[in-house]
């Protein structure tokens, strides 16, 4: 059966609590959309689950966006937006990036769309994705120093450039 979009969050949380206990820290809402806050070490598991499980089939990675919270600890978080085209569901995943490693497992094995999106995240924010087949800069030239979208990087660039 196809559930209403507004129930997806709570249904997913209870399903995950059963099948992957401890993977989801909490569920939050913003402007009517649901976000699952995921343990960084369990991200790959959850991604495979969400994509592969029959009642969900979140086969479409719409967006992958790092957020630099600057003065927060941990500083960065990555937000994923997934879609299930079959059932027309939407869900967001929020994962805190551990400050020491500044890395999250690569999801290119789950969604090919993550390939370039993770490269962009690495280039502009400096978040690494171990397991990515070819993690190198995509927007800036290869010899660029710094990660421009970090909030402490000046908009007009550093004087050296």
């Amino acid at each position: 059966m196809i559930h209403a979009q507004r129930d997806i969050g709570t249904l997913l949380v209870s399903d995950l609590a059963e099948r992957l206990p401890g993977a989801v820290r909490q569920l939050s809402h913003s402007r009517g959309e649901c976000y699952l806050h995921v343990e960084p070490s369990r991200l790959l598991e959850i991604a495979r689950f969400l994509k592969g499980e029959q009642p969900w089939q979140f086969a479409f990675l719409a967006n992958l966006s790092p957020v630099d919270w600057l003065s927060r600890t941990p500083r960065f978080e990555v937000v994923y937006h997934l879609r299930s085209l079959v059932f027309n569901y939407r869900i967001g995943l929020k994962v805190d990036v551990p400050d020491q490693s500044l890395s999250l497992p690569s999801l290119t094995g789950v969604w090919r769309a993550a390939d370039w999106l993770e490269r962009e995240a690495y280039d502009l924010f400096g978040v690494r994705f171990p397991g990515h087949p070819d993690l190198r800069r995509i927007m800036m030239s290869d010899d660029w120093e710094g990660h421009p979208y970090r909030r402490d990087y000046p908009l007009a660039g550093r004087a050296a450039e």
Binding site: F60, N63, S65, V67, H81, R112, A113, D115, M139, L155
Partner: protein, 392 residues
């Protein structure tokens, strides 16, 4: 990449090249004429638009969205306005929603016309470019009629559209709607059954539905592979829920089917335009949200509170409650997404512009592997990329 394999030749295409639709660079490895690997090197138009958004208020950022997909400027404006409206909690009036549909579909036709002209130009047919631009000029005139600009209009506003349309606008839209089907038939008579076009595009650049979804393809690139996914139907926004139209879906996922999908999309866009022109509801074109939107000039001159409000919003910027949104509209290339995070201040702290061309371009290598170099050109055209959206 096997550098020691002397059979392979590395060819650099771009970033200055007539067939790359902008400053795209491809590093292609060829085995005689066949493509072995094809790596896009992008970023030659990376302007940092997402970072600029963090230094501007929501209203100030709107004209920058024009420069993303600069072939269909209004659609980007619309997406941003919708994202901001969700954050602020503003609902645009009905007339504005209908006008947004009308202008978005005009922009869609404009974008598909330039796609058609340049795609055929790449394949060696120069004539369609001039024919398509003949109709494209008419659409530009329509936009110029209402806002004075031929492109990069920034006509959409948070809360509606900037202004109501002029009295002569709708009659001119109807005139355009009356002559456009003939133009479409003209293009199709030149192209669709053309043996050279078919030979160059059928079976070329095939991507299966499953792989397309895995790559995150959207828009005609996804629909050409048989996936009936269109945000205007899946998550109806503006006035799309009230209007009749169909999604164009292909079958084989090759260049030819993507061509057919876009041609049909132009027809469906025209259908939407005619419906809106016939049923445009009366009313204001900008929402009344005194907390976030500036009062009208008339109010400003009449009412002291309105004047204070006006100054406050202009100087400090309107502040939405803290939170985040991801809003997506069906752009001409696919899902145009805006992920906006607010900490309750007047400027967003993060804006991620999801450009469909960026995501779609990643599938180029898969589509082009094993095909001829000449096919590569056809495939790039069929994905329909615009570098403003790829690089942002």
């Amino acid at each position: 990449m096997n550098v020691s394999d002397s059979r392979l030749m590395t060819l650099n295409i771009g970033p200055q090249h007539p067939s790359t639709h902008g400053v795209l660079r491809l590093i292609v490895e060829l085995d005689a004429e066949k493509v072995v690997t094809c790596r896009p090197d992008i970023g030659y138009l990376h302007r940092g638009i997402g970072k600029i958004a963090e230094s501007l208020t929501y209203e100030q950022f709107l004209p920058y969205t024009d420069r993303l997909d600069y072939l269909a400027c209004f659609i980007n404006n619309h997406g941003w306005a919708m994202a901001a409206e969700k954050l602020f909690g503003i609902e645009p009036p009905r007339r504005a929603e209908y006008l947004r549909v009308l202008l978005s579909e005009l922009a869609r036709i404009e974008s598909h016309l330039i796609w058609l002209g340049t795609h055929l130009l790449d394949l060696g047919a120069i004539t369609p470019l001039f024919y398509c631009f003949r109709e494209k000029e008419l659409i530009r005139d329509l936009f110029e009629e209402i806002c004075g600009a031929r492109m990069t209009h920034a006509f959409c506003r948070i809360g509606g559209v900037r202004d109501d349309v002029t009295p002569t606008f709708l009659p001119k839209v109807r005139e355009f709607a009356a002559l456009f089907p003939k133009a479409l038939r003209e293009y199709e008579s030149l192209i669709t059954d053309n043996p050279i076009f078919r030979a160059r595009t059928r079976g070329v650049g095939v991507i299966s539905a499953e792989r397309a979804i895995d790559y995150g393809l959207s828009g005609p690139s996804l629909r050409g592979s048989g996936v009936a996914w269109d945000l205007r139907k899946a998550e109806p926004y503006a006035a799309y829920a009230d209007l009749d139209f169909e999604i164009a879906v292909g079958q084989r996922g090759d260049v030819y089917d993507r061509y057919l999908v876009r041609m049909e999309e132009m027809r469906q866009s025209l259908r939407l335009i005619i419906q809106v022109a016939e049923n445009l509801p009366a009313g204001p074109v900008l929402a009344d949200a005194p907390q976030f939107l500036r009062p009208s000039k008339a109010e400003f001159h009449r009412n002291m509170q309105a004047m204070i409000r006006y100054f406050h919003i202009t100087i400090h910027g309107a502040c939405p409650p803290a939170g985040e949104v991801y809003t997506a509209v069906e752009g001409t290339k696919g899902e145009v997404g805006f992920y906006v995070v607010s900490d309750g201040g007047p400027k967003p702290i993060r804006v991620q512009l999801r450009g469909p061309s960026f995501v779609n371009l990643a599938a180029l290598e898969e589509m082009a592997k094993g095909q001829y170099l000449a096919d590569l050109v056809a495939i790039i055209g069929s994905i329909d990329i615009v570098l403003g959206e790829v690089d942002r």
